[in-house]
Structure formats: structure tokens, C-alpha cells
Amino acid sequence: METIKIQGSEDTPKIILDAANEILEISGRSLPEDVSSFYEPVLNWLTEYTENPNKKTIFNFKLTYFNTASSKLLLDILMKLEEMHEKGQEVLIRWHYPEDDEDMAEAGEEYADIVDVPFEQVSY
């Protein structure tokens, strides 16, 4: 499976989707101009991945900020992972947040409420 590597910028997050090395991670700030087209390859990749996933899937979110439009796309990603979980595959979401960022921690909690998938909060 192809690996996706997107370098982060001021307004776009850094994304690594590497099935072979078991690294799935989104980090940084997410306020892209056109969210749907930015995240489209990510969602497509995940759709392909769900057909033939690794034994255990750990998805890391390490964001410092995302806007409302991005939040919907992040939810779409989480829902793909939820689907995998429902099919009986082992999935874990790690939500990283800066120790002093209450907002980001609570955002993680809210997400955990919406989707039914193992969710782990990690402060750094």
C-alpha cells in the first residue's frame, strides 16, 4: 500500500500514513483553505486500508489547533476507524494534547463521546 506523507505548514497539518511501518498520524495546525480536497486523499487511503488493515491499528492525533470545517473531516476519519472497530478489528485512537491545553483535551473527550471506538487521551 502506498504511503502518504504530507509536510505540515502554518495552516495545514503534517500527515503520515504508513501502513508498513504502522505509523498513522496527524499533527500540527489544521485550517486549510479547502478542507474537503485537503483531506480527500486521507479518507481514500483509509478506505483502502480498511480492506486490508494491520493486525492492530493505532491512529495518533497530535494537533494544536483545527477549525470548525476541519473538525467535521476529523470526525469522518474517526468514523472510518469506528467502522473498522465495529467489524471486530483492533483499533486504538491516541489523542495527544499539550498539558496546559484544556480546550484540546476537552475536544478529545467530545470526540470520544460521539464515536464508539477505544480512545486514549495522552498529555505531553
Partner: protein, 470 residues
């Protein structure tokens, strides 16, 4: 509106209002007003407090101000963004598409209250629209409907303009009225089958007896009327007819010529009846009991053969060439045809299976769900029908389900025998509203009716009145 939804709505309002420079007094006013229309004073206070809490108005020191020291434009907090998603998901589960569009309109309205359409606010509404799965085009048409106020800006074929100006809009539909300040706009949202109304002038207009404020958007529901100060009122059916006018697909001509019917014992049932009708009409048949209403209906729909005269549908003789007209006619008899042991859904489903042998499971399922939605029976779809003595669904719902059994075949001409007998006035109106709407959509409908209320009587395009003796 349920408690849970109101709560969710207060949170959405609060999150939107507190973006950018924070809550404006016009928005507070809007929320108060909104609550006052739905609730009593006690509850208004309760929900208003909720709004103040969520929007951070109760404690100005905490929450919303954390980013201010950075000196940059304040961004929507990530927690709020995710909270919005959670709220929308919750709303998704409980509300119908129609109600969701209404929620969306209310969100637009609160932004419209101070007319600050900033990026962040619009992004929130956009996201809500996406989670609600509102079609993109309809989202934009709702947006422009709320934001814009001039007739030339609102020239879209989903919009109807009502004013006293002679000019004809290029795309929009138009009803000309007399002496009206400003314009009335009606937007049709096709997927939700919903009409929204707003007024831009300064005169006192009334929607179903309540005054219309010119900064608000109203639902223009089935059967509503708008009273104008100096001109004839505007009825829902007028408006709907303008929108439905271009959807008629099969023109029908229905001609009855010199019909006469004699019962087997030689008595005359029908005595020389002639008339001609076309699609899009709702015809009533009235008369004293024993006057021959049902007999006439049976002859008109082809069950009984007249002893003289003929019925021509698009030039084809109904009684001699019945097979050529197969599927064109639908009949809803007075007695019910439901199977008591089955649920509302199953009744319709098995009926559809018998009608369409070549349709797939999923097609039938879709069709059944669509018709249940159209007739407002979707929430009841898993209830058992029950017998008339041991009721599980109401009389009006029973009747609508009976009509649905015929409608699923999409007949062009529908005969309905006493759809309102035994129903409460409210239920009768619902059933008749449904028939009226079907007529507007281009069907020809004959209804035998007893004691119509004046409201119902007004819905008919024509009455055929029979007296005893045929």
C-alpha cells in the same frame, strides 16, 4: 420542540453568537424572542439562562478569553467545534430532514440578527449543514434567502415573489397582488418538501392569524394563509400550485358522457350525468345517503358498467378497453384494506411486492419509505396496524395508510370513497390536505364526501351534487 432539542439549539446558538467579537445585543434579543414563541415565561427564563451560560455571558473572565493575550484574531475553540459536531449528531438522530432544515434556518437567522456574516460563523453553519446532509444547492439557496432582501437578488426558480409590481422576474415565480409595501418571498426546499416565507415591507401582515415580523423567516406550512391589509389573502394551495405547475408529467382528460346506470332490479341509480375534467383537479361528490354517490364512483372508476353513456380517459373508453388503462386508476374504498397483524411498513411493503414483480428488494424498500415519509407515517412505520376496535394507530393514520396502498402505484386518477368519515376534524383536514396536494401535483382526484367543514369544502375545485332518485 422537545426539551433535548431546545437544549441542543441553545448550545448551537450560543457557540455561533460568541464567535468573533462575542455576543451582540441583537442576538440576545433574537434568542429571547425565539424562546418566547415556543415556551411559557418560566421556561423562557430557564433556557435563556442556558444560552447565557453556554455563550460565556455569565462569567466573562473564563473560557472565551484565553487567546486574547496573543493579540491575534480569535479563532473558534477546538472544543466548540467538536461540540457542534456532537450536537448535530444528536439532532440527526431525533429530527426529520424537514426539522433539520428548520434548525439550519434558525442558525442563519441568529447570524442575520446582527448581519455579521464572518468566516467563522459561516464555517460553523456550513459544517452543521454538512452533518445534517443538506444538499449543497439547497444550502446556498437557504443562505441567500436569509441574507438577501431584494427581489432582483432573489431571482431563483425555487423562489416565489409576491408583490404589487408589474415586472416579471426572469427565473422566480410570481404572484401579483394589490398595494403591498415591500415583497413577500417564499422559498421551496424540494428535498424536505418545505416552504419558507419572509416579508420585507412595513405593513401588518398575518400568517395564520399571527403577525409577521420583517426580520424573521417563517415556515409556510400546508394549509396556511397570509392575510394582506389591502388585497385578497394568499393561500398555501396558490403558492404550492405555482411551484408544482411545472412538474406535471402526464396530461389527463377525463370525459363522462350521458352516464346512466340501472340497478339489476330496474331502478335507476344514475340519471344522465355528463362532465369533463383534466389533471390537477380535486372533485367532490356530495349528496344525501342513498343518492347514488358510491354507485356513481363505481361507474366512474370502471367497476360497474353504465347502462348508457361512456367514460373516456384520454379518448379511450374505460368500460370497453379496460386493459389499455391498466394502472391509470386507483380506488380507495370506504372500508379499510389493512392487514391487522402487520405493521404499517409491512402492510405497504407486501402490497408493493404484489404490485411490482420486477422491482428489487431495495427499490421496494426505498419506495415504501418514501411514501411513508410523504404521508407523515414514517415515525409509525413499526407499529402494528391493529383492528378498528383495538387501535394501535389513529383513524387518520389508518386512512392515510389506505391511501398509501393505492398511491404506491402512482395512479394518475384516484377515486376516494368517504376519506373523512369517522375522523376528527383535524384528521379530516390532514387527509384532505394530502389529497389536495396530490391534486396539485397533477393527479385527478374524485372524492365522495359527507358533511365537509367549510375549510374542507374550500379545497375542492368542483362539487358534483346528487339528489335522491339519481
Amino acid at each position: 420542540m422537545s426539551e433535548e432539542i431546545l437544549r441542543a439549539l441553545m448550545q448551537l446558538f450560543a457557540i455561533i453568537a460568541k464567535q468573533d467579537e462575542g455576543v451582540e445585543s441583537t442576538q440576545v434579543e433574537y434568542v429571547k424572542n425565539f424562546l418566547q414563541q415556543q415556551l411559557n415565561d418560566e421556561e423562557v427564563k430557564e433556557y435563556f439562562l442556558l444560552f447565557r451560560q453556554y455563550s460565556g455571558m455569565e462569567d466573562p473572565d473564563s473560557g472565551s478569553d484565553t487567546d486574547e493575550d496573543k493579540g491575534i484574531r480569535k479563532l473558534t475553540s477546538v472544543r466548540d467545534s467538536v461540540r457542534i459536531l456532537g450536537l448535530c449528531k444528536k439532532i440527526n438522530k431525533t429530527l426529520t430532514q424537514k426539522q433539520k432544515v428548520v434548525v439550519l434556518v434558525r442558525l442563519f437567522e441568529i447570524v442575520n440578527a446582527d448581519r455579521k456574516f464572518t468566516d467563522q460563523r459561516m464555517q460553523i453553519i456550513n459544517t452543521v449543514g454538512e452533518v445534517f446532509k443538506v444538499v449543497k444547492e439547497e444550502f446556498t439557496s437557504v443562505e441567500s434567502f436569509v441574507v438577501r432582501n431584494e427581489a432582483h437578488e432573489l431571482d431563483d426558480n425555487n423562489i416565489l415573489v409576491i408583490n404589487d409590481k408589474r415586472d416579471v422576474p426572469r427565473e422566480a415565480k410570481k404572484i401579483l397582488t394589490k398595494q403591498l409595501d415591500g415583497d413577500i418571498f417564499v422559498l421551496k426546499i424540494k428535498s424536505a418538501d418545505l416552504y419558507l416565507l419572509k416579508y420585507t415591507g412595513i405593513e401588518d401582515l398575518f400568517l395564520n392569524g399571527l403577525p409577521i415580523r420583517n426580520d424573521r423567516i417563517y415556515l409556510f406550512a400546508n394549509g396556511s394563509t397570509v392575510k394582506l391589509p389591502k388585497a385578497a389573502p394568499i393561500y398555501f394551495s396558490d403558492v404550492a400550485a405555482h411551484f408544482l405547475a411545472d412538474t406535471v408529467s402526464h396530461p389527463i382528460s377525463y370525459i363522462a358522457r350521458d352516464l346512466e346506470y340501472k340497478f339489476p332490479n330496474g331502478n335507476t341509480g344514475i340519471h344522465h350525468i355528463s362532465f369533463s375534467e383534466t389533471h390537477g383537479r380535486l372533485i367532490g361528490i356530495m349528496g344525501a345517503s342513498g343518492a347514488g354517490k358510491t354507485t356513481l364512483l363505481n361507474v366512474l372508476c370502471g367497476i360497474d358498467r353504465p347502462s348508457a353513456g361512456e367514460v373516456l380517459i384520454n379518448g379511450i373508453d374505460l368500460h370497453n378497453y379496460k386493459e389499455k388503462l391498466e394502472g391509470v386508476i386507483g380506488l380507495v374504498p370506504q372500508d379499510d384494506l389493512l392487514i391487522e397483524e402487520l405493521t404499517v411498513y409491512q402492510n405497504l411493503y407486501y402490497n408493493a411486492r404484489l404490485c411490482f414483480e420486477d422491482k428489487s428488494e431495495t427499490e421496494i424498500d426505498e419506495l415504501v419509505n418514501k411514501i411513508l415519509l410523504n404521508l407523515g407515517l414514517f415515525d409509525r412505520k413499526d407499529l402494528k396496524v391493529g383492528s378498528p376496535l383495538k387501535k394501535m394507530i389513529s383513524g387518520g393514520q389508518r386512512k392515510r395508510l389506505n391511501i398509501a396502498l393505492e398511491l404506491i402505484r402512482e395512479p394518475a386518477i384516484l377515486f376516494v370513497d368517504e376519506p373523512t368519515s369517522g375522523l376528527s376534524s383535524r384528521d379530516s383536514e390532514n387527509v384532505m390536505d394530502l389529497l389536495r396536494e396530490l391534486a396539485l401535483k397533477g393527479k385527478l382526484i374524485f372524492v365522495v364526501i359527507h358533511q365537509p367543514s367549510s375549510e374542507i369544502y374550500k379545497m375542492f375545485d368542483k362539487m358534483i351534487i346528487l339528489d335522491t332518485g339519481g
